[in-house]
Symmetry: C2
Subunit: 332 residues, 2 copies
């Protein structure tokens, strides 16, 4: 590819003038500038980022290295990566994403990341979890997006699951639903614990005793079968007429399975039983029949804020909880 030298030769100037024409055009004689730009155009010249980077100057723009987890298992969450990239680009930064499939990432991948000499690092996971952060990464500005760290003094941006579940249940109760049934995420999961707290807070405020709401925790292995089984059990125990008026699901996938089962039993949503999801799976939640009321995991926001944290050089090394808005559709 063409280099400054080539452009310089074609324009009949020194390489330095080419550099200036591109970086500080106001310091160049208009006529010279025109000649240079014309040469740039003709050669399709674009400065090499590597060369700029190596000089350490400001001209190249800064780079964020991203270690992305769970992209394979939670593809719907790519929005977070998109948002990182967009936000960075808006500020003249660029991102470099490395998808990783194990935690902690193998040294090989870490070296690859470091070999790009990023000015900041984002460690992201699309499912709420606690990650162990390799010590080497701590030498640079570092933020976690969508996950927590085993160490306390690292900035993290995570969904506010407690508040999200609280708001959703509160709204449901305000609409008059009184006998919820919960099909929760696996008990050991972080999100599950937080949401349970949110649920309890809403229940307590409404004067509903916790014991009055039946709960089932799925195991990680077979959400599908267990959801079906639990529903079948509940329904047959009450002769096909549900003894719950609101089904609170640990995520939209559980809600999807439940929907189909309920529909197949001749039950109407939300007249016979309302359904509440969690996640707001992009492009799917809208396709529920009727469209699913759910709580949104704020992937876009988390990505944006984590990126801005780096760009604005914020010094707030603690957990930032990002709101999970309730997306009210027709299933309640």
């Amino acid at each position: 590819m063409a280099s400054v030298k080539d452009v310089a030769r074609l324009a009949g100037v020194s390489p330095m003038t080419v550099s200036r024409a591109l970086n500080t055009p106001e310091k160049v004689n208009p006529e010279t500038l025109a000649r240079v730009l014309q040469a740039v155009e003709r050669l399709n010249y674009v400065p090499s980022l590597s060369a700029r980077q190596i000089r350490g100057g400001t001209s190249g723009g800064k780079t964020i290295g991203v270690l992305a987890f769970d992209t394979a298992t939670t593809p719907f969450a790519v929005e977070m990566l998109l948002s990182l990239e967009q936000t960075a680009r808006e500020h003249g930064w660029s991102v470099f994403i490395l998808n990783v499939f194990e935690t902690p990432p193998c040294p090989q991948v870490i070296d690859l990341l470091l070999s790009h000499r990023p000015d900041g690092i984002i460690f992201s996971a699309m499912q709420l979890r606690v990650l162990q952060v390799p010590a080497v990464l701590r030498d640079k500005p570092l933020v976690l997006s969508g996950c927590l760290s085993t160490e306390a003094d690292i900035a993290c941006y995570v969904p506010d699951d407690e508040e999200g579940q609280y708001c959703a249940v509160k709204q449901a109760l305000e609409r008059g639903y009184r006998r919820p049934l919960c099909i929760n995420l696996p008990r050991h999961s972080l999100a599950s614990t937080l949401r349970q707290q949110g649920l309890q807070r809403a229940l307590t405020e409404a004067g509903i005793p916790l014991e009055a709401v039946p709960q089932y925790d799925i195991s990680a292995d077979d959400a599908y079968g267990e959801t079906l089984d639990e529903l079948r059990r509940r329904l047959s125990a009450s002769n096909g007429k549900p003894d719950f008026d609101l089904l609170i699901c640990g995520n939209d996938r559980i809600a999807l399975v439940a929907y189909q089962y309920l529909l197949g039993c001749g039950l109407r949503i939300p007249e016979d039983v309302a359904v509440l999801g969690y996640d707001n799976m992009v492009g799917v939640a809208e396709l529920f029949y009727p469209p699913l009321t759910t709580v949104q995991l704020p992937y876009y926001e988390m990505g944006r804020r984590a990126t801005l944290h780096l760009i604005k050089e914020k010094h707030e090394p603690f957990i930032h909880r990002v709101p999970c808005p309730v997306i009210s559709r027709q299933s309640w």
Copy 2:
């Protein structure tokens, strides 16, 4: 960050020896090697990719620049990007992904791509479409993944929609289904045309006249409402008993809507009506009740082959059709 010099000083050798220790360890005295590696370890030294790249040597490994389209609108297709990355890494190459939101991509993004001095370029889209390839990109080895080009002499890896639909319908007919109803993708779409051909081929082979199978083409605007309407119309025209035994859907989303509607009507799948999808949406198709039989869009394979095309420096500048396997689950 530490550089060769730092390591050299600490190990008491010249920078050159450090370089050799890392790249051609067999040419270095074992004792010296050990000293160097120890220094490398202590300083967490990782060679700068930029510096390597700039030298143009072979040591740095090559880079593929990826222009990715549709990531936002077709999130479940990230598998293709993952596969690019994985395949490249397996061969010591690295990838650099730039998500783009408009076609053709704005010059700004193209320059960004070029500024990384990629050794090859992959233009990818996750929905089958014809893309206009900016002329500048044609200077380097170039492949399209998941999409076609307006120009003929560019290598493309795309799903074999015709064959995929053909196989699926053929299998359905072999199972005895005789009265299909189709709810197709929008008529103007590329995939729609190809699949129509596949459908017709299977029908013809089975001696079923095309006119005998009712087809509805959804518009791009409201797949949801139109699917529902069409089904409602069909069913009420025949007093709730479907006059079709197989519902062929343009994609899994249509199938999802249809599923819920059919289930809600008290119809059993597949006893009363079988359903066939297209796409095999990862993490969703399995959640259908019963699990959806569908045709898989070969995102992983397309990504892999496109990457290998570059790595192996293949000279086959034409359309490569990647098979779409039929994923047989329980909806037929």
